[in-house]
């Protein structure tokens, strides 16, 4: 496989948090490569370093050490200093995020929430946002506000929002953490479908049941990664 076939390539990635004057390692030198079109589940208990890893891969957080490339863009490496503005641009152009608690803006309608990231690119994409809403099965809920939607519907809106900038990589952090089992399965089927259409997905979860949906499972424990 060529280097450019990988959406994410990480080598010796580290992250430490300073708590009460002490450095607490959250991620301890992980090596990871995610190829284009893969559906990878990052499995681990709470506090294992899943979210920290995801945040670094999604350019939300800077690694303390290690080399990281996202969509052929060097984000971290020896002597590499990437500006906040560059990280913003990388997220804008290549990454889509889905969180467990949706983070929808309550003042906007569902379709406006989906179209929001296009604003950062000074683009209007009302039609594209509507199309995505239909794609996630919410074509009939365009003008509903988040408080008028169920948990599953809100997560579908969040997935549509993550897709609106046509990302190379979708990062989902416990995307079913706040959903019941039936809705959880619906969301995972949707993610599977999107992966079938070529979208690269990296999903972090503590729920072993979710591993059934992925082609590849990575286990993370105490900041260390192990392929299962």
């Amino acid at each position: 496989m060529n280097a450019s076939d990988y959406i994410v390539e990480a080598t010796g990635l580290e992250k430490r948090y300073r708590v009460h004057g002490r450095d607490i390692p959250a991620v301890r030198g992980i090596d990871l490569a995610v190829a284009a079109g893969e559906f990878v589940v990052l499995l681990g208990p709470s506090g294992a370093g899943k979210t920290t890893t995801l945040n670094m891969l999604g350019c939300l957080d800077k690694p303390a050490a290690g080399r990281l490339t996202v969509a052929d863009n060097l984000v971290s490496g020896d002597g590499v200093r990437v500006s906040e503005a560059r990280l913003d641009a990388l997220r804008r152009e290549h990454v889509g995020f889905v969180f467990s608690d949706f983070h929808l803006l309550p003042t906007l309608t569902a379709v406006e929430n989906v179209a929001l990231p296009l604003l950062w690119q000074d683009r209007r994409g009302d039609e594209w946002a509507c199309e995505l809403m239909t794609r996630v099965g919410l074509g009939h809920r365009l003008s509903h506000r988040p408080n008028e939607l169920s948990g599953g519907e809100m997560q579908r809106v969040a997935i549509a929002r993550a897709l609106v900038n046509r990302p190379s990589l979708l990062l989902a952090d416990e995307p079913t953490g706040n959903l019941d089992t039936r809705t959880r399965d619906e969301i995972l089927h949707l993610l599977q479908e999107l992966n079938g259409e070529g979208l690269t997905i990296l999903l972090a979860t503590h729920d072993r049941d979710l591993t059934d949906y992925a082609a590849r499972v990575l286990h993370i424990q105490d900041g260390l990664l192990k392929e299962v």
Binding site: R91, H103, P106, L116, P117, N165
Partner: protein, 398 residues
């Protein structure tokens, strides 16, 4: 969807808080608008009132000329008098085209509730008054006749040919006078006056040989100052206690007095604007704190420093500009009340004085609210834009 829509939706998210903040700005802007329009309206009213006097120079007895001028403009009881023969000095001064001498007195009745002002005039007076015109009747038919201003005729319920009685009990015995004419309404002080032949008033009020003011029209307006100097010189030579001053000087002095008070009021308005600005800053900062996670989400989806700054700044601008418009509206709605209060408080307010609307003042107020928004929104916008996306998503502090 656009930036403005997002900002507007955030502003209306907490309607009560936004309205209270907006009200703070509106009150400050209303004060600014009223102050600026007050200055404009006062000057306009004063200019109009002095213009209606139809004279270029005013001569009053020694004392404060401005107090004297306000009595001339609105009528009243005079504190001191000039001698009748001094009027001859005025008439014989070179450069004087026309002049008129006036004597004035007032009868206060019903414990001060009714104040009737009588003005003794000569035949030159109507020539200096540009809007002197009769509604009915005409000039004095005899020494025992009067001409009534429009409002005076109404309050006396008198028509031409009727008799009215002047009396204040002890000082003036009841004196009957016949109405010779009623003036058309001019919306000036003339409306409320009762005009008598000069000698008649002097006789009734026991003011023989006395005058209170002489109005002078010059032959060449550009040489008014020269005529003033000649009159002053003539007054000194005759040892007459006359106070001669051009009306332009009176206008200048009164507006200068007004300007000095304006600086003080403007300082209060600036403080009010600052308080309003701090209110806006606090409100926006509070909303930024409340929306930390939302800001984190926006950053996660690629929003940059400038994007977040722009949203918060726009919200602030919307609040203050809306406050600016509301403030101008408030000022216009309360204009009558403000004028009534000012008339009560100010020692002198011109008859035509009103708080109006000028485009210049309007845009200045809107401009002030924009500047207020830009200034008050900078800090919260900067705080919001500078937050780390990770800390924000976790709901951490700014």
């Amino acid at each position: 969807m656009d930036w403005l829509m997002i900002a507007a939706k955030n502003v209306v998210r907490r309607p009560v808080r936004s309205l209270l903040t907006l009200a703070g700005v509106a009150i400050a802007v209303a004060m600014l608008f009223s102050l600026l329009e007050f200055q404009r309206g006062y000057e306009k009213g004063l200019r109009g009132e002095l213009g209606q006097l139809g004279a270029h120079i005013m001569i009053v007895p020694r004392g404060c000329p401005y107090e004297a001028a306000t009595i001339v403009l609105h009528g009243g009881k005079w504190p001191s008098y000039m001698q009748q023969q001094w009027y001859d000095i005025v008439k014989s001064t070179p450069g004087v085209a026309e002049s008129t001498a006036i004597i004035m007195d007032a009868v206060i009745q019903d414990g001060g509730a009714k104040n009737t002002i009588y003005m003794g005039i000569d035949e030159d007076y109507p020539r200096l008054r540009p809007d002197w015109d009769y509604d009915s009747g005409g000039w004095f038919s005899s020494a025992r006749s009067v001409i009534l201003g429009a409002s005076a005729a109404k309050s006396e319920t008198a028509s031409v040919g009727d008799e009215i009685t002047i009396s204040d009990g002890t000082r003036i015995p009841p004196t009957k006078l016949r109405v010779a004419g009623i003036l058309k309404r001019t919306n000036t002080q003339d409306d409320g006056l009762i005009f008598l032949p000069q000698a008649t008033l002097q006789s009734i009020f026991n003011l023989q040989g006395k005058l209170v003011v002489v109005l002078v029209k010059v032959t060449d307006v550009t040489r008014t100052d020269e005529v003033v100097e000649r009159l002053r010189a003539a007054s000194r030579q005759a040892q007459a206690s006359m106070n001669v001053f051009p009306l332009s000087e009176l206008l200048g002095t009164l507006t200068a007095l007004l300007s000095s008070t304006k600086v003080f009021v403007l300082a209060i308005v600036v403080v009010a604007l600052l308080v309003g600005g701090v209110g806006v800053l606090t409100t926006i900062l509070m909303t930024v704190y409340e929306r930390t996670q939302e800001i984190g989400m926006m950053k996660a989806t690629g929003a940059g420093w400038l994007d977040i700054f722009r949203i918060v700044w726009l919200e602030t601008l919307l609040l203050t500009v809306a406050g600016g418009f509301a403030g101008v509206g408030l000022a216009l709605l309360s204009a009558r009340g403000v004028v009534a209060v000012l008339r009560h408080v100010l020692p002198y307010a011109p008859n035509g004085f009103a708080l109006g609307f000028s485009a210049q003042t309007f845009w200045l107020c809107i401009g002030a609210s924009v500047v207020l928004g830009l200034a008050a929104g900078s800090y919260p916008a900067m705080r919001a834009a500078s937050i780390s996306p990770i800390a924000a998503i976790r709901g951490g502090s700014l």
